[in-house]
Symmetry: C2
Subunit: 356 residues, 2 copies
């Protein structure tokens, strides 16, 4: 028992010493590299605002699902999830009908895509082309759903839009989507002049818009004349403040323990999440084309968006920010009256910056 007791004391001593050392290390580290402690924000009632459209009010009134923080976990669960994703895609047909848009499935430099054009293309837009990279946390939103957001800019803005159906994880993780976006861009350069072209997309599509430009810069390839990264998923390292301020305020993305971050990490496939090709907020934005950014005050990616805006401005880029009242993540890409306002801002921006 005495030996045992000595052993216990020694173990305790070692544990205490290690703990003290660890605490000291954290303290010392904290003074230099980490932020001060945070604080708890108490529970609060969140009313639905009456200053926005009834359609948006309905979206904002949707409850947080009970299972919001239990995404798939094992490879098998992800495979099962992925197999279900494309069974009920967001249907672009009502939008195509509403705007009288014709589309043509095509393959651009090996990448499947949809070329869309409304029946009314004004003369100044006849030689212009916008390449669209859809959202969906890298894993969702492919197939015909890839057209949905593209149809909005084709419809509200009367531009020709080429929506790219890039490869997705788990079968095709990073850098497949980015490779496809760059390949599609190279193919699109044979359809139109880069000075008459833009790139846009929301969420993962916003991040891909930014990372594609980073890749084009690296490769010395022609850049688009303007870009519209919508609420870009620009920081997978969970460093953005709105991940915490808008946690469970945003009823679309909910929080970082929800499905979207998990899908993005499946896409990242073990690569460093801080790599600018995965978290473009850390990229060098010098020489970027003019950019218009869109988000909402309830967006979990509000900070992801405004941090990109600031980085662009610090790099001297002509960058515009539009933040919509009370909107959660990518609400402006839904069928609500506010969508017109957001896409007309983007269309006006492209019209200003693209050659005719």
């Amino acid at each position: 028992m005495i030996v045992s007791s000595h052993g216990t004391h020694r173990t305790l001593f070692v544990l205490v010493s290690a703990t003290v050392a660890l605490v000291l290390a954290i303290r010392v580290g904290g003074a230099q590299t980490t932020a001060p402690d945070g604080r708890e924000v108490p529970a609060r009632m969140l009313p639905v605002p009456n200053t926005v459209s009834l359609e948006l009010q309905q979206l904002l009134a949707a409850p947080i699902p009970g299972n919001w923080n239990t995404p798939p976990n094992t490879p098998e669960e992800w495979d099962a999830f992925a197999a279900q994703i494309d069974r009920a895609p967001r249907d672009p047909q009502p939008l195509l009908d509403r705007f009288d848009i014709r589309f043509e499935p095509m393959v651009v430099n090996g990448i499947p895509a949809y070329m869309m054009a409304s029946s009314v293309i004004p003369p100044e837009n006849r030689d212009r082309l916008l390449m669209h990279l859809h959202g969906g946390c890298y894993m969702m939103g492919g197939g015909v759903a890839a057209m949905y957001e593209g149809a909005m800019l084709a419809g509200f803005g009367h531009f020709r839009v080429l929506s790219i159906d890039y490869r997705r994880p788990p079968a095709f993780p990073y850098p497949a989507a980015l490779d496809d976006a760059v390949s599609a861009w190279q193919g699109a350069l044979e359809i139109a002049d880069a000075k008459k072209m833009g790139i846009f997309g929301a969420s993962a599509g916003g991040a891909l818009t930014l990372s594609t430009v980073l890749r084009l810069k690296q490769g010395g390839l022609p850049l688009p004349a303007a870009i519209a990264p919508g609420t870009p998923m620009s920081d997978l390292t969970k460093s953005s403040d709105s991940f915490y301020t808008n946690r469970l305020v945003d009823n679309v993305l909910m929080g970082t323990e929800a499905r979207c971050q998990a899908m993005a990490e499946v896409y990242a496939d073990g690569h460093d999440l801080a790599d600018p090709m995965l978290s473009p907020v850390y990229g060098d934005m010098n020489g970027f084309p003019p950019a218009v950014l869109t988000t909402g005050t309830r967006d979990l990616l509000l900070s992801d968006t405004v941090r990109v805006h600031r980085n662009l401005r610090r790099a001297g880029v002509d960058a515009e920010l539009h933040v919509y009242e009370a909107q959660a993540h990518a609400n402006y890409v839904r069928d609500i009256p506010e969508a017109r306002e957001a896409f007309e801002e983007m269309a006006r921006f492209f019209d200003t910056h693209l050659d005719r």
Copy 2:
């Protein structure tokens, strides 16, 4: 007992009927004019982000005061509060020293003011003048403190700045501050040409910037060439969504039960809070000059700011929005590295839009 029992049943019946009627009335009313019900957002930890300056991290780490929601209430309490306000004003002297700014107290068309200029005024700014309306919930920030924010734009932007020391409640409620701002503007028109002038200010000063332009429009007076309403207190009716999403996230304004809203209501002095001269988000912004708006993602007035931005854009006004990561209300008007960025954006905007 039988009568009593009948009575009880009757009372219950009346209560139930009244409740049903009330619920029906709410439902019917709800379908037409009020928003759907809200939901509860649970408590959460709010870390201090490490992507912002250490100086801003220190501001963000400040706790919420325990008495945050107990503002003065009676006229006597307000008088006592007001008597204390000017005893420890925010001292502009360190800023004046840092930027080598000389100031001159003066009276402009009957209104006390401070004319400021740094030792370096570039040729293009020699005939330009910015009128500054300070913040402080209408009640605070007067006297020499009126210069503080003005000194930042004078210093970072090398503009001549005229800071107005308008009258304040409880002694001088609405419309005294607005009357003074308009009078000072009329006086300033004898110093400089309206096409070479701007108006700016944060918080209550942002609201006054907007309501002054509304008044100038009404009176057919010359408008400034550009304005910079910073985080304008644009809606005293508590309709902005960020009053709820950023409640106790913003450790400067805290929430609508805190002192600032109470001070603004003392200023309003019983007038309709929805009057555009008190809540300029409800004003007609057609014909407004170009505007640059500034706020932060944690700002209780984030929505007050973005709603004004949207209203300006809908009115076809050239309006820019800058939202800074993690900043609470008017943090950019504090001595933090991010202040330079915010005021240089404003200075660049004025330089673009003011005649030389």
